[in-house]
């Protein structure tokens, strides 16, 4: 209920949105180009393994998404269900943590040296 907490949450949402905007455009461009010749596990792994630059990019991407999505979901839960208190935040926060873990796992596996 504190205006400081709420404003900070709003700001994190907007800043992560800006990061994601750039990351998504880059990602879509890369994927469209990379899938020109079809998709396969070997192709993906061969293309990205050991590439530290892209690894850092995708770590930032995953962190931004894991911040942005839960904040959005929290609002949707509150408005769609009228749920009050800390529960919307807990539920969306859990989804966020899940996203972070799964995302970082995927990035480190794929791009890891």
């Amino acid at each position: 209920m504190s205006s400081r907490v709420d404003t900070r949450r709003w700001l994190i949402q907007r800043v992560s949105a800006m990061v994601l905007a750039v990351a998504v455009i880059v990602h879509l461009g890369v994927i469209i180009m990379a899938t020109q010749n079809g998709l396969s596990a070997a192709e993906i792994v061969g293309r990205v393994q050991g590439n530290v630059g892209w690894m850092v990019f995708y770590i930032i991407f995953v962190v931004a998404a894991a911040l942005h999505a839960p904040i959005g979901l929290r609002t949707v839960i509150r408005e769609a269900t009228g749920m009050q208190g800390r529960w919307p935040g807990f539920i969306s926060g859990t989804i966020g943590v899940l996203m972070l873990i799964m995302g970082l796992q995927a990035v480190l596996r794929l791009y890891g040296v």
Binding site: M1, S2, S3, R4, D6, T7, R8, R9, W10, L11, R78, E79, A80, G82
Partner: protein, 238 residues
């Protein structure tokens, strides 16, 4: 034989029904004229509000064919669909009776948003000089014409979904005061509006802007509040 209109009017409180009246269609007739005709000639038990009849007080705001409007400024022929009209009370407010709603929460939220001027000087001091071209004054001027009619509040989905949401009118007024250099209450005011029930709940659907009879944009004012809140947060003033 004169043309007639088939007018459905909400009767009752929160629980009630639409009743249909046949009303003569007249040249340059407004929706308020129609409601008045029904109450005076057909059914004196109909309750509704109006005052100035000329579009300056906002008392006659009702839901006409689904949209919140000032009924005194709504020409019937422009909104009638196939000779039919549906008139109901404003949305998002408790219904007292028929077309009259309980406006208390609307004004309570106005107060909660600190929508009242807090002076810094007295009558013994010099006038404040504020240039009309001053950036803050321009921003305040763009939002100042609100008469508190409730049309925006009634048109806002977030008001419907979040009972604590202060609403477009209250936040719009807070914005005019944030931009008023004579006001002393802005630190408190920002704290009052920069929350989940305040400016951050606005999703910019712009229904308020779309419906405002004075063509104001609470969305733009609320966006201004978001920026002001961020500024205050970064300066440690929140």
């Amino acid at each position: 034989m004169a043309d007639t209109l088939e007018v459905s009017v909400w009767r009752g409180g929160e629980n009630g029904e639409y009743e249909t009246y046949t009303v003569p269609s007249r040249e340059s007739q407004t929706v308020l004229d129609i409601v008045t005709y029904i109450q005076r000639r057909l059914d004196p038990s109909l309750s509704y509000r109006f005052a100035c009849r000329v579009g300056v007080c906002g008392s006659c705001a009702m839901t006409v064919n689904g949209k919140a409007r000032w009924t005194c400024r709504t020409h019937a022929r422009l909104v009638t669909e196939n000779g039919k009209l549906e008139i109901g009370p404003l949305r998002n407010l408790p219904v007292v009776k028929d077309l009259a709603t309980d406006m208390r929460e609307f004004f309570d939220k106005w107060a909660k948003a600190e929508g009242n001027f807090k002076p810094t000087t007295t009558r013994h001091d010099e006038f404040a000089t504020v240039k009309p071209s001053d950036k803050k004054r321009k921003q305040a001027t763009a939002a100042i014409e609100c008469i508190g009619c409730g049309v925006c509040y009634s048109s806002c989905d977030v008001v419907a979904w979040n009972k604590d949401y202060l609403g477009p009118a209250a936040l719009n007024r807070a914005w005019t005061l944030i931009n008023d250099v004579r006001d002393s209450g802005n630190d408190e005011r920002l704290k009052a509006v920069a929350g989940d029930a305040g400016c951050h709940a606005c999703h910019s659907t712009q229904m308020c802007q779309e419906r405002c009879p004075k063509h104001l944009s609470p969305t733009a004012s609320i966006a201004g509040l978001k920026r002001a809140a961020t500024s205050a947060l970064l300066k440690g003033k929140l």
